[in-house]
Amino acid sequence: MIRLLLPVAAIGVFFALSWATVFLFHPRDPKRFFLGYALLLLVATTVAYRALWPIERIEDALGLACDLLLQFLACLTMWNAFYSVLWGFSGSLMHDLFNEPALCDRERLIRSYEGDGELDRILARRLPNLVRGGWIEWRDRTLRLRPKGVVMAVGTLASFKVFSLGMGGGVK
């Protein structure tokens, strides 16, 4: 049981590093830092575990696997909470409704997202990043998937079918 304390310590370090990075440096793409910290801490846990409990039996190997899985899951949960709650769509809606009483009206809320330009607030944040990341091509006012975008789209469509998710995208 004491072996489970290793991931607990690593999770604390992950949170501290992630918080300090975002708070102090405002990186453009925090997930790269989150991923880097999570992987480094997995290596650190593996090294510490093997030094403390050499792998001699299946139980020892299983303990290491369990520690690594729990640790990575906790890191992923923090990372996902950061993106989906603090930065995501539903979290942003609740933030706006809580802080701007004038938006507590369905039409006004929708208009605040639609904006006045060609792109609404949702697409304006995403499309430039997707173009820069090589996922889509945006030429002559037309959007096209690039090869790695096709792979991702096919995988997503397969998930829709395998897990009966409808069309995803947060739309029920």
């Binding site: 603090l86 769509f89 942003s92 609740m94 802080n99 995403r126 959007l143 998930s159 998710l165 947060g170």
Partner: protein, 167 residues
Amino acid sequence: MLVRVAFAIITLFAAQALLVAIVSAIRPRGNVYLTIIVVSLATAPFAAFADRLLFGRVLDGDGRLFLALSHLALGGFLFHFMTLPDRSVTLRIFVELLLAPNRELSVGELAGRYGVRTMIGSRLAQLQDGRCLTIASDGAIVLLPRGRSFGRAVTAGRRLFRITSAN
């Protein structure tokens, strides 16, 4: 030894994913996240006692505990994985482009298939189902106690991380 453990982990994950897919196919309107939690918790005892099947011998108490916890963690990964196709706006945009004629759309056509009005309408309906808010027939939105707590938590979290702009 590590290869056998890796094989056991892959087997446990595949078994859970398969069960979730079967349950979701039987109950397509059910909540997939609830399905994952129920499947993971309900099958954890079986995972703990699958030691002979997975390793060819009986494990000690700690070994079985690690096996059950690993199984639950794998359920957690499946939960996180599911948020990608189910919730991601970006992935839905990719799918809309994939399904479009010649795999291309103008911004206006994309907005017609999956636009802000659809997205916000659906999210508000989900927040209403989750008792975070109510929407009157004239469109007035009232935050309920749960919604105010949610809004307060997001506001505090953004302050904690000094996030000034988001979606």
